[in-house]
């Protein structure tokens, strides 16, 4: 019924003009968000370069596979290159320069997708492992280098690329190169003026380098979670993100294939159709699928209870539009991810020595 209603609504809009369009806005205001926001940056000539090749193609691939005649979605915003501003992502209730309510977190938005650079391995948004202290247990890691932005909690982290060593929390951020940037193009969602979901969007996708670092999949996003159902991004585990043209379109194939499929799982599946042989290999077997080296697609959900956080992972492409499912807190989390290399099923200490 919901699908039929959506389809009928679009036909009416086409036929009926402004009066019917107002009806659509009213529907959105009463709990159904069907908008898509895409912000893509290739041109980093203003700041935060070098420029990229495939971000716009990537964002538009997502858009093309989501927004078309008879689809469930409509375009809320599409900005590219220098029209993507750091203030687009920031909340005016935290910093008066912020304007996410008209941009990335616009009311009526279901999914907001950013593709461009992320800050990575450069302090103060480094990998948190600057001390180089080797370890056998996380409890031994007590000395973050606070002068370069590291802080607690700690993790005795390892990956196919790295022997266990002490790593600490460090802020994460996306990079813009906007003509009206107010924060030097740094979108610090770990501790900046970011509150996604309190105005509009139900899902945020950050298609960037080092969107989150293991094992801080929760801590690095808690600040930004203000009603959003799901946050999807890239987690590198040695190596970095490939700037590919089809991660967005691959993600949207979850919707095209089965509207009742899991949105969160579709972000993980997005890796599967990306070339395996591009980028550097991952030690132990693996690599590619959108990475140069080892990496993972990850989705994080937060809410006011464990059950509520877990439930977000089961949202399908209709549920993600439902504003009644907005998160009501951020003290509990659930995370799922897929990495481009094999780990033994008996290995229950992947990433961190406890």
């Amino acid at each position: 019924m919901k699908l039929l209603r959506e389809f009928s609504k679009r036909i009416l809009i086409l036929a009926g003009g402004p009066l019917i369009a107002l009806t659509l806005v009213a529907v959105d205001a009463h709990g159904q968000s069907t908008g898509i926001v895409v912000e893509s940056v290739n041109n980093y000539s203003v700041r935060n370069g070098p420029s990229l090749n495939n971000s716009i193609a990537n964002g538009d691939g997502f858009l093309n596979n989501m927004v078309f005649f008879t689809s469930l979605w409509h375009l809320n915003n599409r900005y590219t290159d220098n029209l993507v501003w750091d203030t687009d992502f920031m909340d005016s209730s935290v910093d008066s320069s912020g304007n996410d309510a008209n941009n990335f977190d616009k009311p009526g938005t279901a999914i907001s997708y950013f593709t461009g650079h992320g800050f990575c391995h450069t302090n103060p948004m480094g990998d948190g492992c600057s001390t180089g202290q080797s370890c056998t247990t996380t409890t031994a890691c007590k000395t973050p280098n606070t002068s370069i932005g590291e802080g607690l909690p700690a993790s005795c982290r390892f990956s196919p690329f790295d022997a266990p060593r002490c790593c600490y929390m460090a802020d994460r951020g996306a990079a813009t190169s906007g003509s009206s940037d107010k924060f030097n193009g740094v979108v610090d969602y770990t501790s900046g003026a970011i509150r996604w979901g309190n105005n509009g969007t139900n899902m945020v996708v950050l298609d960037i380098s080092c969107g989150v670092l293991p094992t801080f999949w929760y801590q690095e996003f808690r600040n930004a979670s203000a009603g959003v159902h799901l946050i999807a991004t890239i987690m590198t585990a040695g190596g970095d993100t490939d700037n590919v043209a089809d991660r967005g379109s691959s993600f949207a194939l979850g919707y095209r294939t089965n509207i009742r499929s899991s949105v969160a799982s579709s972000w993980l599946n997005a890796m599967n159709l990306l070339p395996a042989n591009e980028g550097g290999s991952c030690p132990g077997g693996g690599g590619g699928h959108g990475f140069n080296g080892c990496g993972c697609n990850i989705v994080v959900a937060m809410d006011n209870s464990s059950a509520a956080a877990v439930a977000h992972m089961s949202e399908n492409w209709v549920d993600i539009q439902n504003d009644a499912k907005d998160s009501k807190g951020n003290n509990w989390f659930d995370a799922i991810w897929q990495c481009n290399y094999p780990l033994k099923s008996t290995n229950q200490t992947a990433w961190e020595l406890p």
């Binding site: 980093y44 935060n48 070098p50 090749n53 193609a57 538009d60 691939g61 093309n64 596979n65 008879t70 599409r78 590219t80 501003w85 008066s96 304007n99 650079h117 992320g118 800050f119 450069t122 302090n123 103060p124 948004m125 480094g126 009206s180 380098s209 929760y218 993100t241 490939d242 043209a245 379109s249 691959s250 949207a252 095209r256 294939t257 089965n258 499929s261 899991s262 799982s265 599946n269 599967n272 159709l273 042989n277 591009e278 980028g279 550097g280 590619g288 699928h289 140069n292 089961s314 549920d319 509990w332 659930d334 799922i336 897929q338 990495c339 290399y341 094999p342 099923s345 229950q348 406890p354």
Partner: protein, 313 residues
Amino acid sequence: MMTHKNHLLALAILPSLYTAAQTAPAPNPLVLRPGIIASDTGGAPGYQHGLKQSHFAVGTQSHAVSDEGWSRQEGSYGAFAVSLHNGLAMALPNARPSTDQKPSYTKDPADHEKQVFEYFVAAGIPKDQIGGAHTMTRLSASGHYGDPHPAPPRIDGYVSVLERKVDGYPVPDSVAWAQFDNDGRVISEGVYWPAIPASAIRDAERIKSQLASASDRGKFMARVPADLPSGQVAIRHTSATEQQAPLEVLASYDVIEKRTSPSVGALATTPGENVSIVRHFDANGVEQRLPQERRNAEKQFPPAEKKASSTDH
């Protein structure tokens, strides 16, 4: 649980399924039939996946739906869908509460990989085109703010992927992947394995022979930017995910360019990590972009006027 598994009944004619714009003459339109996809003489056949070959069960109340350029068989468990644009076949389960999900895969990832390899060979993917397989891992974690000892991540399962090679050349845009459960049932899968025209294989040979000859190598490499590292010969084609552009197939000298990611302000003390971008040079050394890399939706979605925040005024 009773399951229904019906064949895809309506298989459409695809007028633009196979338009090899770069290097191959456009063959006649193909009928989207599960099984081997014929190629031109000297080319490599493809494979069209179908529900008959699949071990994915859509569940009860199975019914066929055809809309938005896709043909689907939907049921209580999930949907098996074939793109009428390019033949991409995907099967995904319906989302369900985690408490109701199938048990995770608890065997060795190598077992999963072998299972997926054998599954797709039995389905009909030409064995001589399988250049390898590899496996990815699915994990999860949950917890509470301030928890001093959060539970370690759990390994929930695996996705195994076949790699394609034609006459020794990798075809990285072709893919067959599947996720199995402990009982050998397909949880989800995807297959895109188009036929490769002879012209693309010939062009790959041309690049290879140029690179092997001291004099020709110099001429070829002179057209490739000098600051790029060495690459490899591959056969590239339109992405499975592209649902608008026609199929293009291209022999390419693929080079991975690494660009240093940005640093943050004055505190930057370490070099940035490298973002990778794959660049493609054809048999004449001319840089090409694949259809998915040329995509730009600005005409369909023209930019709206953008206003700065109120504090700017």
